[in-house]
Every structure is written in structure tokens, then in C-alpha cells.
């Protein structure tokens, strides 16, 4: 018998959760690491692939084990398949 859990689906499956606040702040939960970092483009590894955030003056305001907070002017958010 499978155990029953009240945890949200994305937490159980370790899927990433991306939260955009206005155009200034992006919070990515359950990331697995930083792929590349430039002031105009930040790419973050997740279990579902690479999350690409494009914009201007992007800064990693918080880089924790599971959460990553990006601040700056956000123009575009996209997903790519896992590279390599």
C-alpha cells in the first residue's frame, strides 16, 4: 500500500516551481544548480530541464540549496531540455 502524503505535487515529484513577481523578481524553487550566469541571461538547472531567464541587470539575490531568487528586469522566461 502506498503511503498518503499531504505535500504538494511539485514537492513530492521534485518538480521545479517558478514564481514571477511583477517583472522584477523570479523565485525558482527546487532547482538543482546554476548552468550559466550573465547579467542578461541566467540559466538554471531543474529536474524538468533548464529554465532560462532573460532580461537586464539580473542579479542572484539569494542562492540557497533549493531556492534561487533573481532580481532585475525580467523580459522572458523559458524552458529548455536538459543539455548534455
Amino acid at each position: 500500500m502506498h503511503g498518503f502524503s499531504l505535500a504538494p505535487k511539485e514537492v513530492q515529484s521534485r518538480q521545479p516551481r517558478i514564481q514571477l513577481t511583477g517583472r522584477e523578481e523570479v523565485l525558482i524553487e527546487q532547482h538543482t544548480g546554476l548552468f550559466s550566469y550573465e547579467t542578461r541571461c541566467i540559466r538554471i538547472r531543474t529536474r524538468m530541464g533548464i529554465v532560462t531567464i532573460k532580461g537586464e541587470n539580473l542579479v542572484i539575490a539569494f542562492f540557497g540549496t533549493e531556492d534561487l531568487l533573481i532580481r532585475g528586469r525580467v523580459d522572458q522566461i523559458g524552458m529548455e531540455d536538459q543539455a548534455g
Binding site: 544548480g33 546554476l34 550566469y37 550573465e38 542572484i60 539569494f62 542562492f63
Partner: protein
């Protein structure tokens, strides 16, 4: 406190993302990761984890440099280095707290025409800027002011920061405050030499010993506010001055004498309510005196009067008069007029002066010195 101790450092090397991921795997939390123009990355971490980051960076071939305190830790480090500044700040704070125990400003609000009176009261009580708060019983001050100003409904005295604020609520409307150029001034009612001046409100512009002319401003209806600005008030006070009052009388040394020549004539005139009927003509004398005597023959029943006129010729001649008696008479007349003029006044001194006018008239001048308040409100 430990969390507040942050360090900011610069990471240099190719593929800095690999190091960041390695730090993340180690459970090291980073903040404000920022890429610079020179391809370096600036990171902020806690001071306790800096040694681990440094070890990992060295292991992976990265250079970690320019470590410096960040946030509050930076401020604390700065203060720790500058102990003199810290001591100075503490001393400054202590002085500020000490200075707050004193009265540095006195604000009188809504006092209107009583502002001068309140200031006078504070002066009498010895309350002035620079006094310790502990030396002023504020409730006693309020009660005394209420006794002093019975027309004031209530008085509020309180501290506002380093200022003593006294606010009045007037029960009876005060006298209108006029412009300092207008009705607020006290002016001299007459000429006089000032003996003393007492000012209750306003600004005295003359002093004891000054000779003032009628209409001259004695106390100007303005005071300096706490910021030096002119505040219009109704001037109050009195100005006691020496006043001299004179009255005069003239007596001529020549008098006209009428001397009878001895020639006389008589005639009768019948007078009714409708007409007069002279029984004879007037005498042809140049000057005369006349005596008249009325008779009523019909009593109250007949309104007819018989008037008997007796004309006596006279000659007019000028005669000389005794100078001493004329002088005394003139002096008495002048003094009588002086006492009439100063009936209610307390005469300090008085004297008589005589002079001859046109050779045949003696003029007597009585002068009295009195002391009285000559300050009156200017009425425009």
C-alpha cells in the same frame, strides 16, 4: 548576531557557475550574486562560511579576493576601528539627554493682549530660557497665572520638547489688538518732563529725563517675538511727568471815570402792550446816565405803565490807577483761574510772574507744577 556578520568577496576564474553549484551542494547559502564587467562575480556570504568557500575555491582553481565586511557587520567593524567616534557619539547622546532637562525656549500662545502681562509674570517668577525643568513647578505656575489673569478662562502650561509652552484661553474678549503703528501705542497727552516710565506691555521708546511733546509715542505697541519678529500688542504702562500749567489775567492801569456835570432833564413815557408814547423828547446831552422808575396806575386791571426817566449829563475822563493794587488784583485773578483749572490736581509748586504790557496793562501769570500720568492710548 552571527547571521548579521556578512562578508562580501570577489570570485575570479572561468566557469564560476561550477563553484557556485559546488557551494550550493555543500549547503552554503549565498546572497547578492552579481556578475561584474570583468567577468568576476561578487558574492555575499556569512563570515562563518567564508573559510569553507575560500577552501573550495582554492581546490577548484578559483581566486577569492577583496573580502570585506558587509551590512551591519561593516558598520560595526567601522565603529570598532574608530573608538574616538564611538565615544564622541556616546558623549553627544549623553549631552543631548542632559540638555533636554532644561528649558531652552518659552512660547506664549493665544495670549493676545495679555502676552506682555504673561512675560512680565514669567520675569517676576524668574523663569527664563536656560532654567532647569526641575526648578519650575509647572502646576503652580499655571495656578498663579490663573489668579493673575482673572479674565482668562484657563491657562495651559506644558513642556513641548525643550520649550515651555503657555497657552491661554480667554473668557472675556481682550481689547482689540491694533497695528503697532495705530491704536496700540501710548502717547503723551501733553508736554512734560518724564520722571519715570513703567511699561507693562509694549516697548518703551523714551526714558526718564526726556522732555516729551504732546502726541509723541511713549510706549510702542509692539514686542519682539521669540524669533525676533515684531508682534503687535496693546501697549500698557504709565509715564509720570512734570507738567507746568499756566493761567493769566490782565489789569489796565487806566480807568475811565464818569463825572456828572449837574445838568438834568426828565420825561415820562406811557407804555402799553401795543405801543409806547414818550411825553417829551430825549435830551441833547452828548453822554448821560439815566434813571428809570416805573409806575402802574391801573394796577393789575389795566396793563399800562408810566415810566419816569431822569437824564443826567456826564463827562468822561481818563484817570490813573494805583499800580500796586492793580498788580495784586491781577495776581489774585490769575491764581483763582489756576486753582479752577487744577481743581483735582495735587499742586507740587506754584509761582506768579508779572509783566507790563504796552505801558498801561499789568499781566499776571500764575504757573503750577504738577506730577501726573501723561500716557494715553492713541486714538486715530
Amino acid at each position: 548576531m552571527r547571521n548579521m556578520m556578512k562578508v562580501k568577496c570577489t570570485l575570479q576564474g572561468l566557469g564560476a557557475e561550477k563553484l557556485l553549484n559546488a557551494l550550493q551542494k555543500q549547503g552554503i547559502i549565498l546572497a547578492d550574486v552579481e556578475r561584474r564587467q570583468d567577468r568576476s562575480i561578487v558574492i555575499e556570504c556569512s563570515k562563518g562560511q567564508y573559510a569553507r568557500i575560500q577552501g573550495l575555491a582554492r581546490e577548484k582553481g578559483f581566486t577569492l579576493s577583496d573580502a570585506r565586511p558587509a551590512g551591519i557587520y561593516r558598520l560595526l567593524t567601522l565603529l570598532a576601528r574608530r573608538r574616538g567616534l564611538l565615544i564622541g557619539m556616546a558623549l553627544c547622546l549623553g549631552l543631548m539627554i542632559y540638555a533636554m532637562g532644561f528649558i531652552w525656549q518659552i512660547n506664549i500662545e493665544n495670549a493676545g493682549a495679555y502676552e506682555g502681562e504673561v512675560r512680565l509674570f514669567l520675569q517676576e517668577m524668574g523663569i527664563h530660557p536656560g532654567l532647569r525643568r526641575a526648578d519650575v513647578d509647572i502646576s503652580d505656575l499655571r495656578e498663579r497665572l490663573e489668579w493673575r489673569l482673572p479674565k482668562v478662562k484657563w491657562v495651559r502650561a506644558e513642556y513641548k520638547g525643550v520649550a515651555l509652552k503657555i497657552a491661554l484661553e480667554e473668557g472675556t474678549p481682550p481689547p482689540d489688538i491694533q497695528s503697532h503703528r495705530g491704536n496700540g501705542d501710548l502717547v503723551a497727552a501733553e508736554d512734560g518732563l518724564l520722571l519715570r516710565i513703567t511699561c507693562h506691555a509694549g516697548t518703551p521708546v523714551v526714558s526718564a529725563g526726556d522732555f516729551v511733546k504732546k502726541g509723541q509715542v511713549l510706549i510702542r505697541g509692539e514686542e519682539r517675538g521669540r524669533e525676533g519678529q515684531a508682534v503687535a500688542v496693546q501697549a500698557g504702562g504709565e509715564a509720570i511727568a512734570r507738567i507746568w500749567v499756566s493761567t493769566g489775567a490782565r489789569i489796565s492801569l487806566n480807568e475811565m471815570l464818569s463825572l456828572p456835570t449837574g445838568r438834568e432833564e426828565e420825561r415820562k413815557v406811557i407804555i402799553t402792550p401795543f405801543f409806547s408814547l414818550p411825553l417829551g423828547k430825549e435830551p441833547d446831552f452828548l453822554t448821560w446816565d439815566v434813571e428809570r422808575q416805573d409806575q402802574h396806575p391801573g394796577g393789575i386791571w389795566l396793563p399800562v405803565t408810566v415810566r419816569r426817566e431822569r437824564y443826567m449829563e456826564i463827562a468822561l475822563e481818563e484817570g490813573g490807577r494805583d499800580a500796586e493794587s492793580a498788580r495784586q488784583e491781577a495776581g489774585k485773578a490769575a491764581l483763582r483761574l489756576l486753582h479752577q483749572a487744577l481743581y483735582h490736581e495735587n499742586i507740587v509748586d506754584k509761582w506768579l510772574e508779572f509783566r507790563m504790557i504796552e505801558g498801561d496793562t499789568i499781566a499776571a501769570t500764575a504757573t503750577a507744577e504738577i506730577h501726573r500720568n501723561i500716557a494715553v492710548r492713541q486714538i486715530n
